[in-house]
Point group: C2
Chain length 188, copies 2
């Protein structure tokens, strides 16, 4: 697979060539001037399923309505790109703070989903909301705490969010949470 | 955190600037000419724990002795960088073919380990060896099938390999395999 978005060397600025490097088996953007190889690899999206244990016995799930494209106006779980310098779990907690102002305690890995055609792996963690003080960030129009029977299935942002919520509801009903893997399309 | 290795725009070749883009909170390599933002994110290393169910009842684990740096000459599990166009599991199976010529059947996600300081996440899968036809690839000096009491703990390549093997041995002894998460240093 060629790498069309790379035309120049990040390191020296020379025009790159599409070439199969020695000991490799696929095209890379290789700089003929300084030898730098600009590898492109899938990146991780990290997020949480933040849950409030309501006194009525019915859990409430924290959702965010997206203020940005793609899928502006649709509902999502808090999630975003993992950054350098953090663990996947730390990134998931950071996104939950940034998009909902939520205070959470992480409870464990829940989903590892491949979104091959967008070059992503989505990692979701279960989380316990510590309080109900929420503050939507700049990427969020509003937050909502929904019962299982209130999940807006037709207005979810991405297929991975739908998949994570489906697995969460099934595990909640079964009374035991596992770790789920699979492959998803990008859009719902 | 600055991104010292990026000096020029991949897209247009202009010198980049370290700048905090609008709506973000950290420095990125931003092109003042075309506006391209060169994001740097952690990448995934994917691998397997390939096991042969020997007729003596003692499983054999497939290891590879590294023919390349870093840690040339040390023992590792088959693993390498996840590529665009594949799932994490497909990447793990590919690396197992490339480094050992092994024919395997994947059995499920086993480890998700953060290696923060090298900007990596390591995902390992359990795998069943289908036969004993092995063929070390160019990155491998030799392959070995070792009993649990033969694992060369002092000659393992990386801390993540040690951690995965420790967890595998513990789960094997307990008679049940889980999914393990944690943080590791790069070197053993």
């Amino acid at each position: 697979m060629a790498v069309p978005e790379i035309h120049f060397c990040r390191r020296c600025g020379h025009a790159v060539e599409q070439r199969v490097p020695p000991m490799e088996d696929r095209l890379r953007a290789v700089c003929p001037n300084c030898g730098y190889i600009d590898y492109v690899n899938p990146i991780n999206v990290v997020g949480t399923v933040p849950v409030w244990q309501h006194e009525d016995g019915q859990p409430r799930i924290l959702l965010c309505r997206r203020a940005i494209q793609p899928r502006r106006g649709y509902w999502t779980l808090p999630a975003g790109f993992m950054e350098v310098g953090e663990t996947a779990a730390e990134g998931a907690a950071r996104e939950t703070r940034e998009e909902a102002g939520a205070h959470i305690e992480l409870e464990g890995l829940f989903s590892v989903l491949d979104a091959v055609h967008v070059r992503q792996v989505h990692l979701f963690y279960r989380a316990r909301l510590l309080d109900l003080d929420l503050e939507p960030g700049p990427e969020t129009i509003e937050n909502a705490l929904v019962r299982i029977d209130e999940i807006p299935w037709a207005a979810l942002s991405f297929h991975s969010v739908r998949r994570v919520l489906q697995d969460w509801v099934a595990d909640h009903r079964a009374g035991a949470f596992g770790v789920h893997t699979g492959t998803v399309e990008h859009r719902r």
